[in-house]
Symmetry: D2
Subunit: 261 residues, 4 copies
């Protein structure tokens, strides 16, 4: 069964900035979707900020295996209740790929629990991404390193939790380094952050960047049924415990009562 | 220099429930503070929900090395702006020890990015905590296991991110298991979640529980200066890069401009 | 393309102990192979200690995607050079599933770098395995817990490095707990340790144990080409660096010289 | 009580190579010991390859809190039984700091379980170490980055297990990156690998390198009593289990018998 990818983009720079508009007339989401569509095992749709519910209805998310996220100037416009919904779906098992300036998106900061801050510089310099985990599925088909020029610089410290895996580390012409490809798991959902993708440069036309996106979608897809109980806190009464026991001692809660939240 | 511990308690059960009030006439915070005060290298204060700013002013948090958190029925009453503040201090390096029902506190869920849910049963059963990481500072002075009876049961799956370290795993009489002592780091702040502590039982009178609390305060204290820049995203211009470079290509941002958030 | 699984067994207990021989007339390897063969996407072969090169020739390992390892009384008979070879293949990307008493196998101790010790008791008790990572591929199709009776007890502390993921934790009737399903990665190879499988009990006839074995083989298979360079330490001369530089300063090594090992 | 550090050096380059001998007339171990001795809370001794038992007798290791290791051309001369002994002490809680070319030492490869390979170049280039975990004790007192020139280049992929923490990442003039400061735990022992330290350059005269060494010794010291049982596999009979149970079913082992290894 095909993997159902959904590419979300705030889609603002392309419409307010001529440079970005000329680079990505189909929108950044369009360029990413085209990269993913090369994989015959993946079906791709797109969604943008200005659609109803930002294009992220309950029904649509329920039918999404992997969500790809690009945002920058409009992070603040994404509604909290939609962020709640996306976070919930990640916990249930939806994969999430956060790109570039998405490090400051509400959804990424929520899932990390940290500031997700970094240094930056827009100087069209060379970025060289080294594959540090060669056997990782996200690195499939890549050489030992690849270069992007021009790219924006992002520099350490990148204030994320210690990753589950570090796949790429970048070298920048101006002297900085950055953990450019890192994985996490939250609930049943796999998360991949991938650094490249400045809107003022044609990064999403770069062949190896496109390969990473395709690899990441396959990696992030969790075929398990949605873990809908991930947030439940069920009471297990003493007489239905795996080992039935006598209830002893005083009690605060009555039978069948919900716990506090 | 002494470690400055601050014990926070919502302090509601003790005042509305006679049973809890008789168990902890000094408040749960009082019992915990007394356990910590045994360590001559620690100074202890307490704070509760109904104090102004929940007793957690900017100034007070700035002078706190380790915050201990107990909450249950009043999680929802903790103001978001105070949670923001505590989270920020954890990132800067303040240690945080989250106790028992605090798994559902706003601050813990925010730092984890996951539901932090679990199974539960109030049946006064035996809990046996096994030390799985014997060399860990939080296990200092403990035997290979210790028992608490009566205790509330918390059962897996506990929906947290994969811990940095698993220190304790609990066995319950009714058949469940639980990762009862787990560590995390977020920014410069060390976090320890410790399971025992049901308000209807005298858990905080238990000698080994008290030892764990003391150990955890010492472990969680990060003597480094506060990492106040943890959330900053500074621009590093091309001519002030570690390796000065020429600025190339088009630009979206002007000199000195702030990045988007 | 089918996953090529190879089930290795020392195959001694079955031939020297009547009880074990009656439980597993086809050998433990035979029982495991039968469990795996249910998966149409997997081809299964077996190998045993007394075959030439323990059935683990270079050629055969090169054609193995996932190796399953069962050993106990004959750990010491496994030749070091064969262990070297298996370890090398794991680094290159071969999956390894280590079962039960294999915790003390040479290959597992080598890959972990720790004693891999634990407590044990042979009393035919109940083991209840809780799934703590419900979305993990190794837990596919399982209920929230499953029981095995009779089983041998293994108790914490289990002296392994902190796992990449903890999938199962066991509860034992006699009061112990154990991290029963844990994952690691070494080089490009994925490693899964799975606790159940005492030779004096019919554990490998247990339906859920068999399901875990099948799941684990699928999880452990890394489709990437063998990372044959995983142990190389190539010199990168200054004039062939990604950024060609002048060689400066004194040198210990001459051009083209090998580094020390 | 003072931390007892022991600096081990193979001490060969200094005696066979004039350049290295002039840089480190006191031996590399002497230079490192001098850096550590600045810390009044640390007592420092040294040991070298050609001493009896390489200067690493049982008695001496038993009185060592943190062992610092420098080796290169003589890795192969270190006796296996001494490596066994050091590994055992790490498991018991002795800290281990592995420097530079020590990535290929027997003890480091044993503790990691991986090849520990990397790229290299001796061209006197600039290394810039970025602090990625600013709150880590090993980074105490350091600026956001520091530079070493000249240094040897080590490049990724560095074939180690995923670290517990990544403290430093290096940028090299010739275009490579490297995880230059990484932590691990094995048993009760904390391990820190630190990249800088080429014997043909005066790296151990560098003030920030010396600061890192001092910080690492403090971090790696585990004050817990030696975990001498770390490799034991005790039988826990049914009648001495935490929950006494009846022994059921067939048995392979007799009462009081040792398990297989």
């Amino acid at each position: 069964m095909a993997i159902r990818a959904l590419v979300w983009n705030e889609y603002e720079h392309e419409r307010v900035n001529g440079l970005v508009g000329r680079l990505y007339p189909e929108g950044i989401h369009g360029a990413i979707a085209a990269a993913l569509a090369v994989d015959a095992g993946v079906t791709v749709e797109t969604a943008t900020l200005d659609e109803p519910e930002h294009g992220l209805s309950e029904a649509r998310l329920a039918q999404t295996d992997v969500l790809v996220w690009w945002g920058h100037r409009a992070h603040g416009k994404v509604e909290e209740k939609i962020v709640d919904r996306v976070q919930r779906r990640v916990w249930e098992g939806m994969g999430l790929i956060v790109l570039h300036s998405g490090h400051f998106s509400k959804i990424f900061k929520r899932l990390m629990g940290t500031p997700c801050a970094l240094k930056w510089r827009e100087a069209g310099e060379v970025e060289r991404l080294w594959v540090v985990n060669r056997g990782h599925p996200i690195a499939a088909g890549l050489p030992e390193y690849f270069e992007i020029e021009p790219e924006e610089m992002y520099g350490e410290p990148f204030t994320i939790p210690e990753p589950m895996e570090t796949v790429f580390i970048s070298w920048f012409e101006g002297g900085e380094v950055f953990r450019s490809g890192v994985t996490f798991q939250r609930g049943a959902g796999r998360i991949f952050y991938f650094r490249p993708g400045h809107e003022a440069y044609p990064t999403y036309r770069h062949e190896q960047v496109r390969q990473v996106l395709r690899n990441a979608v396959r990696w992030a897809c969790n075929p398990a049924p949605a873990w809908t109980a991930v947030g439940d806190a069920p009471n297990v009464p003493h007489d239905r415990a795996p080992v039935a026991i006598e209830a002893k001692g005083p009690r605060l809660h009555q039978d069948g009562e919900q716990g506090f939240r």
